[in-house]
């Protein structure tokens, strides 16, 4: 199975710009399905970015983050070729991790 | 009336079209509605329903059925199942009116579409 995480990380000078897209339903718990049953909330709670083992950015998310969530940020100190590790965990305990190289 | 589409002012040509069809449909319903009186029977319902269904089939042959026709037919059946034949007959006639309007549209558009063409 393909990863649920897509990342692009680019270093320009001493700044690395990171964009990530994650495949996740982000069900809010306010929506009913075709049978009129409430779809229980199912959403990513925490998303973490680590560069060379050091945390650079942590996202705490609620149900109002869009389906297949997207986030963009930048940090200083990353270099081309460095490892960027991305992990998420959702409210049901599911998780995924990937490591990308900064380009 | 089931017209819930909201239109902004800039869509007046569309709004006019909607109005025109709505009125047309309504007119067909007026003529039909007035003939349903007194307590209706199962047979009356069956007859009215068959007529409506036949009209809808004819619209289908023109590839031009309306969603409201199908849902009104379904409502008619539901009313009949509940023993409410007055409502069932009225709904059947409404469905027939809708089907007839869609036939009218489908027939007139066989030529009328050319007026919209970009040339």
């Amino acid at each position: 199975m393909a990863s649920t995480i897509r990342v692009r990380a680019t270093a320009t000078g001493d700044t690395t710009e990171v964009q990530a897209l994650i495949q996740h339903p982000m069900d809010s718990g306010f929506v009913k399905d075709a049978q009129g049953q409430i779809i229980p909330p199912h959403f990513i709670q925490q998303l973490t970015f680590e560069c060379n083992g050091k945390a650079v950015f942590v996202a705490d998310w609620g149900t109002a983050v869009s389906k297949d969530p997207y986030v963009k940020f930048s940090f200083k100190g990353g270099n081309k070729g460095d490892d960027l590790k991305i992990s998420w965990i959702d409210n049901k305990g599911a998780s995924d991790t990937t490591t990308a190289k900064i380009s | 009336m089931k017209m819930t589409m909201r239109l902004t002012g800039s869509n007046r040509p569309i709004a006019r079209l909607v109005l025109a069809t709505t009125l047309l449909t309504t007119m067909l319903q007026i003529t039909r509605a007035s003939s349903a009186q007194a307590a209706a029977s199962v047979d009356e319902f069956k007859a009215a329903y068959a007529v409506a269904e036949a009209a809808n089939t004819q619209a289908g042959a023109l590839r031009n059925q309306w969603t409201a026709t199908a849902s009104t037919l379904a409502d008619a059946k539901k009313a009949a199942d509940a023993g409410n034949f007055d409502a069932a007959v009225a709904l059947s006639k409404e469905a027939e009116a809708l089907a007839k309007a869609s036939i009218f549209q489908g027939t007139s558009e066989k030529q009328a579409w050319k007026a919209q063409e970009i040339r």
Binding site: R8, F30, K76, D96, T97 | -
Partner: protein
């Protein structure tokens, strides 16, 4: 992930064709462990702020999250569309000239729960975040920037004509 540099350069090339000027970047994926045992979240030294996300109102959510109130600041630049094309996906970003920023949060006042997202800005990370949020209806969107232990905010109304409750 089975991607190679090759196809990703193909990606950016073709996309540039369509989207002039939006430069895109290649990445190389390494190994992944889909749904494996959760590795220790080294950075997650703070727990997910459950109480703040549970609050209905904006003021309550901010109070729960930070224990203080925010003051508007023109040093907080909130970027959001005037009219969201669809409430399910509203691109919202914030950037600030404030220094010593430790966190950035987004709140949608009229959502069932006001707090949408909260980001920890760790040392070395720039105080600028873009994300996509759901909006149930037209509402004020507020960005909170925590800088030097104080809270600063910017607010903008986003009109929503197609609600984002459908997913």
């Amino acid at each position: 992930m089975t991607t190679t540099d090759d196809e990703f350069s193909g990606y950016s090339a073709s996309r540039r064709l369509i989207l002039k000027g939006v430069g895109l970047v290649a990445l190389t994926g390494l190994g992944i462990l889909p749904f494996g045992p959760m590795p220790a979240l080294a950075a997650a030294n703070d727990k997910w702020p459950e109480d703040a996300f549970k609050q209905k109102g904006q003021a309550e959510a901010i109070k729960s999250l930070y224990g203080k109130t925010a003051e508007p600041s023109d040093q907080v630049k909130l970027d959001a569309p005037e009219i969201a094309e669809n409430g399910a996906v509203v691109p919202i970003s914030v950037t600030t000239t404030l220094t010593d920023v430790t966190s950035i949060s987004f709140l949608v006042a009229d959502n069932p729960n006001a707090l949408a997202a909260s980001y920890q800005i760790l040392p070395g990370t720039l105080p600028s975040v873009a994300n996509r949020l759901k909006m149930a209806k037209t509402s004020n969107v507020t960005a909170i920037v925590e800088a030097g232990g104080k809270l600063y905010s910017a607010t903008k109304e986003v009109k929503v004509t197609v609600g984002g409750c459908g997913g």
